[in-house]
């Protein structure tokens, strides 16, 4: 059931999970980045970086600017809004893409299984405020009517996949 629900999210926004999501989130946090920085810091093969970037450029989720010999990638401040029967309202911005992608992580799958896609969508929205320093994990938990523990493990798993978003240095092994 959790897999079906996650697949529903993937189909809605296929570019907002996996490596393309990591690229978007990385560039959003950094402000701008070169393809070489993306390749080096995210550990994604060069050909894959260029392929994914061209997909992102094509739909306007990223842009490029040439500065001398170097190409610089930027992510505009977008909001992608969906309103579906299965999920309810969902807003994805460059800042909360890691939260959206957390649907694939252990804590995300458990959260969706327990609380449903609608509540997960709300978490994704609240994460935007959280990462910008405008709310706390406890407030998020209260608003979602879930335990703080569940919010913290989501934040922890997001930090593992998107360490730069949380100011962390490296990706380490995790307890499931």
């Amino acid at each position: 059931m959790a897999i079906e629900k996650t697949e529903a999210l993937d189909k809605l926004f296929p570019l907002f999970h996996g490596q393309s999501a990591r690229i978007l989130a990385y560039v959003a946090v950094k402000g701008e980045a070169t393809p070489e920085e993306i390749r080096g810091d995210l550990g994604i093969p060069r050909s894959t970086v260029y392929k994914l970037l061209s997909e992102l450029f094509a739909v306007g989720l990223a842009s490029k600017e040439r500065r001398g010999k170097v190409e610089v990638v930027k992510v505009p401040d977008f909001v992608v809004f969906a309103d579906t029967a299965a999920i309810g309202e969902l807003r994805v911005t460059p800042w909360n893409i890691p939260a959206f992608d957390a649907a694939h992580l252990p804590a995300g799958k458990m959260f969706i299984e327990r609380h449903g896609l609608g509540k997960f969508a709300r978490f994704v929205e609240l994460y935007d405020s959280y990462i910008k320093g405008n709310t706390t994990a406890r407030l998020m938990a209260r608003e979602l009517e879930v335990t703080r523990y569940e919010v913290e493990i989501l934040l922890s798993d997001i930090g593992s996949m998107y360490p730069w978003a949380m100011g962390l240095a490296a990706h380490h092994g995790r307890r499931q």
Partner: protein, 167 residues
């Protein structure tokens, strides 16, 4: 008074999730380490309720071995209450929520830290939230409470993880 480390739920849950609770225990034993009852409730009681029993048991171990003590904050000191209420107002403003949504017990770690600092201890405070950090630093400066150091959460987690790899 020896240095005091005041620990939030976020650190324990993160350390457990990364499999570095042993390293965290060593770190906590470097000072007297305390948490308010709310932290025990979130990391042990609530974790069990939502099915994370193994995690709850591991974290409870930190309390059972005495690496971390549960201490009730003292709100009888008006200055401590003013600091906590100031932080509440700041968080409510930042999040555009009514102040009653930010409960006082949410900020028990702040009350503990401020109380120990006011008593002359050097205090280390550890938590994840950026919003809390910004509001706390503002309020401590306003109330002229010195001696509280908010540790960089990410850096500490990375340090604990590095230590575990060197084991």
């Amino acid at each position: 008074m020896p240095p005091i480390t005041v620990v939030d739920s976020s650190l324990m849950i993160e350390a457990d999730r990364r499999g570095v609770l042993d390293e965290l225990e060593i770190y906590l034993r470097e000072n007297i380490s305390v948490s308010p009852p709310k932290v025990f409730e979130e990391t042990v009681t609530e974790a069990r309720k939502v099915g994370y029993v193994d995690s709850a048991n591991r974290i409870e171990g930190l309390f059972n071995t005495g690496a971390l003590r549960v201490v009730e904050p003292d709100y009888s000191d008006h200055k401590i209450s003013r600091i906590v209420d100031g932080v509440r107002e700041c968080i409510a403003r930042k999040s555009c929520k009514p102040i009653h949504m930010v409960e006082r017990t949410d900020l028990d770690i702040v009350a503990l830290a401020a109380g120990y600092a006011k008593a002359g201890a050097k205090v280390i405070l550890i938590f994840r939230d950026k919003a809390l950090r910004e509001c706390l630093e503002l309020e401590l400066a306003r109330q002229k409470i010195f001696g509280v150091t908010v540790v960089d959460f990410a850096r500490l987690v990375d340090e604990l993880t590095s230590r575990s790899r060197r084991r």
